[in-house]
């Protein structure tokens, strides 16, 4: 494995401002979903940014050109100052999305958030069957609470998105997720096959569906999209493992999104800390603009200057930006390699083969997402 080397200044492309800020307000969460997108090494509550620090970061984000704020976690509603943060986002002109598990939010607090200027709420559902959903979240009664909150979001007049992370335990109920979204009155549904980084990579064998199951879910979504035009928008995210070309992860490294962790580290992607050799700046020490424009971690894989073959001469290099750097590192041992999701990668056959073999075997137990539950090593190929 080699450390990522930085492109020279001459090759460093300009950095147009980001559209989105993903604010991980806390890594605390009542749920323990085995596909959590947080890093395996969760940040402790003690180091979390204070209200005034978040206010400053939001102001800097708006000045930089960020338009949308995604309030995430962990579970962002565990922050008692969420109303103040939302109010400040509205004041500086940011469009705010709340990405929540929905289990810790009362109707009264939701009304206060709406009053403070919240625009949109996204609630994740683990399954359409309560017993399975609660087992996945490792939280008794979670599903019922989520459905109650979804109804409250509609009652408050806020836009509602449901997020359905798909895997082998619920992929057969893709159509049920769609029906549930329509029945609840969501206008948007994310049918999002689990992306296998971090916790999900550690649980890959426990979660991986078969290719036939994935294909069936795609057919269900395509038929529903035609039927539900103007009623429900369905965004579909496919698992990399059955793809032939990678997705443009984060819209390209350092291109569209800044992620700020609970303690204030600015990352090009929420999983970026899994790549060794990158040094991340803190919003406590530098402004977002400085970080965006000059941080070596953001420059490391921005644009195409870092690429090697097969990305370097690929006519899709400015469409998929080489795919996911974190996945390239996790699977091939070198973050500058092509994403193994790409059929042009020399690792592609092993990559898809591993998934197919795991999907065909009985699923192992989950390793639930906990502060103390991080596996010592990530899954090797």
């Amino acid at each position: 494995m080699s450390e990522p080397s930085l492109p020279t200044d001459a090759a460093r492309p300009p950095s147009p401002p980001p559209l989105g800020l993903l604010a991980e307000l806390t890594h605390r969460c009542p749920l323990q979903c085995p596909y959590c997108s947080n890093p395996l090494a969760l940040e402790r509550p003690k180091g979390e940014l204070a209200t005034d620090e978040w206010r400053r970061v939001l102001g800097e984000a708006a000045d930089l050109g960020v338009l949308q704020l995604h309030l995430s976690g962990g579970e962002p509603t565990l922050r008692p100052d969420l109303e103040a943060i939302v109010a400040h986002a509205a004041q500086v002109g940011l469009y705010s999305n709340l990405i929540t598990s929905g289990v810790a939010l009362t109707e009264a607090r939701l009304a206060a958030l709406a009053h403070a200027g919240l625009a949109h709420v996204q609630i994740s559902l683990q399954d359409t069957v309560a017993a399975s959903a609660d087992r996945l979240a490792h939280y008794q009664g979670a599903h019922a609470r989520k459905l109650a909150l979804a109804a409250a979001v509609r009652k408050a007049g806020l836009a509602l998105t449901l997020n359905a992370p798909l895997h082998r335990h619920n992929v057969a109920r893709t159509a049920d997720f769609i029906e549930l979204a329509v029945a609840i009155g969501a206008r948007r549904l994310e049918v999002a096959h689990v992306q296998y980084y971090g916790w999900a990579l550690a649980n890959r064998a426990a979660l991986m569906p078969t290719r036939a199951e994935v294909d069936a879910s795609v057919r269900v979504v395509e038929a529903a999209r035609a039927r539900l035009k103007g009623i429900l928008t369905i965004d579909l995210v496919l698992p990399d493992y059955y793809a032939t070309r990678p997705k443009p992860c984060m819209g390209g490294w350092g291109r569209g999104i800044i992620n700020v962790t609970p303690s204030g580290l600015a990352l090009p992607c929420h999983a970026a800390q899994s790549i060794p050799g990158l040094v991340f700046d803190s919003v406590r020490a530098r402004s977002l603009q400085e970080i965006w424009e000059t941080s070596p971690a953001f420059a490391a894989f921005r644009g195409t200057g870092w690429m090697r073959e097969p990305c370097l001469s690929c006519d899709r290099r400015e469409r998929d930006w080489g795919g996911c750097r974190c996945q390239a590192f996790a699977v091939t041992g070198d973050a500058r390699n092509a994403d193994p999701a790409c059929a042009l990668s020399s690792h592609h056959a092993d990559f898809t083969g591993a998934a197919a073999a795991e999907a065909a075997s009985a699923p192992p137990e989950f390793r639930y997402r906990r502060f103390s539950g991080a596996p010592a090593v990530t899954v090797a190929e």
Partner: protein, 97 residues
């Protein structure tokens, strides 16, 4: 709770921006944007003008008449142009009627 139905936009519809949608200037990039759940749309100058007239009071025929004055064009022709645009915006959840 009543099931949601697709909004069909006709000349008597009175469209307005959906509550979860913002039309705002993007000063950093010198453009206007429609901000919606997990979406950023970039409306063209005509769409911006139409959206500014979508106040929930005017119906589409009235919106076409206002535009006809500023463009010195036939209101009927403008109506025929803007109805598909408004239907598309309704299907995307940008406007309600």
């Amino acid at each position: 709770m009543a099931a949601i139905e697709r909004a069909i936009i006709g000349e008597a519809s009175r469209p307005r921006l959906a509550r979860s949608v913002m039309l705002r200037e993007d000063k950093a990039r010198g453009a206007w944007r429609i901000l919606a759940p997990e979406r950023v749309f970039t409306p063209d100058p005509v769409a911006i003008e139409v959206l500014r007239l979508c106040d929930g009071q005017r119906d589409c025929a009235e919106i076409a008449r206002v535009l006809a004055l500023s463009y010195e064009a036939d209101a009927g022709a403008i109506l025929a142009d803007i109805l598909p645009m408004l239907q598309d915006l309704a299907d995307k959840g940008v406007i309600e009627a």
